[in-house]
Amino acid sequence: MAGTIALRKQPLPDVTSPVGAQKPWIKWLLVSLTLGFLTLFLFVPLAAVFTEALRKGIAAYFASFNDPAALAAIKLTLITAAIAVPLNLVFGLAAAWAIAKFNFAGRNLLITLIDLPFAVSPVISGLIYVLLFGLQGWLGPWLAEHDLKVIFAVPGIVLATIFVTFPFVARELIPLMQEQGSEEEQAALVLGANGWQTFWRVTLPNVKWALLYGVILCNARAMGEFGAVSVVSGHIRGQTNTIPLHVEILYNEYNFVAAFAVASLLAILALLTLAAKSLVEWQARRQTADTLEPTAAED
């Protein structure tokens, strides 16, 4: 996405270009239109979160977190992300290795299937696990017999979260690793490195920024997922509530200050994610400019 900027030809200076010699009012019209639209749809909602959270002062804001249910929700969200993100990270690396380094039949089908969870509504992502593990589901009776709880319990929440964050790491890695090809890995193998050494010393350093980017996006979605988790959680206060579900409960109880205070945690997480993303894009662009240009010229 942003990698193309570094490789792009420099446009001609405005003065010599008839395209650049357009009327300034068009520029100001479009810039104001953009800023107006984005203010209405991005900045006002963001400001609303913090304003509502601080409506009754800073003390009331912090008092919202002094609640066992809120702390339990934060803890459950952290646990869920700590399981879902590493699992999808390992999967993303394995999938990208298989797809980018080898040529096999059905490769494009596999890529499409990996992207599938993005096309599925969050509500349906939760529903499929209810159909599998719920009391009326395929494995429900067996699970009940063995006193195992998946739906309306933590395992269901983790499963639904893994599903909705499934493609994030893989889809960042696959295009990049396809573009990089496997010449460097072949060279390492010829020079006597084994498979793992090649992976750790050649492949991983080449993809580290894209990998980090995928992990950041995966983590943000894992901590913020609402629809899918809502279906499988059962909303048991202090036990199966994640932060977004806790926000919903507080909001529906008309406890607006606490709802927006807890929501502001997620908004801060979103802002940190955007900042980290910009930083990683900037680093990746530097790396792309350094290493990818010679190989791109070969094609």
């Binding site: 395209v19 509502e52 096999f104 299937l113 509504s121 509500v123 929501a263 979103a270």
Partner: protein
Amino acid sequence: MSRFYFKQPSVIPGFGLTFGYTVFYLSLIVLVPLSALFFKTTNLGWAEFWRIVSDPRVVASYRLTFGASLIGALINAVFGFAVAWTLVRYTFPGKKIIDAMVDLPFALPTAVSGIALTAIYAPNGWIGQYLEPLGIKAAFSPLGVTIALTFIGLPFVVRTLQPALEDLDSAVEEAAASLGANRVQTFARIILPTVLPALLTGFALAFARALGEYGSVVFISGNMPMQTEITALLIITKLEQFDYPGATAIAVVMLVASFAILLFINLLQWWSSHRYRAGA
């Protein structure tokens, strides 16, 4: 090459391990659970399935969900184009921050967007209080649903258009201008046709995302049956009443619609890559 290989020979190790793990994990997390949905529906029988999915309350929810998603995606196609164009072509103070913030609807958890939009557009909210005297009911109406679906679709259009606009060759525009075309003609005949696949892809992605959206809509919609109830919410309502066949049947309709859009997007990608190849 005369022999057919499932996998072309390669010196790189690890195919069996990584391919096997990929297929195993994909099946476990995605394919088997998704197929459960379709198998569950086959138990229903066609007549029962049709009775559930053509119930007036369900049909009203399709109308709202598809209608509001379509309007939201159209608004994003128009304004997203302006945003992408401005970010690619012009420099102005704060541009980098604005550019980074476009992803906010993607990064902000949907429940947070939902309560924030409701707070703004409620009758006593920042914007809602000015709409109320005009007789416009924003929150708890189909308009509120459309606002929420516009919010969440925005990054898809902008992020799909940006690279396409960056790749535009300014020499072609200059040629058009030197041959006497004015700006409007250049835009309509040169720029728009070139970025059309990207614009349509962004539109389709925003539409697909809006169809399945739940979190940002449920707070602002008011959830009145027949009027402001979206299909995703109806699935949850059926589940809470332990009406599993009902929830499953409606989910299958939504899933088929999503897959149809996914297919459309893939065709668009294929079309745009072949178009460029032919032109090169």
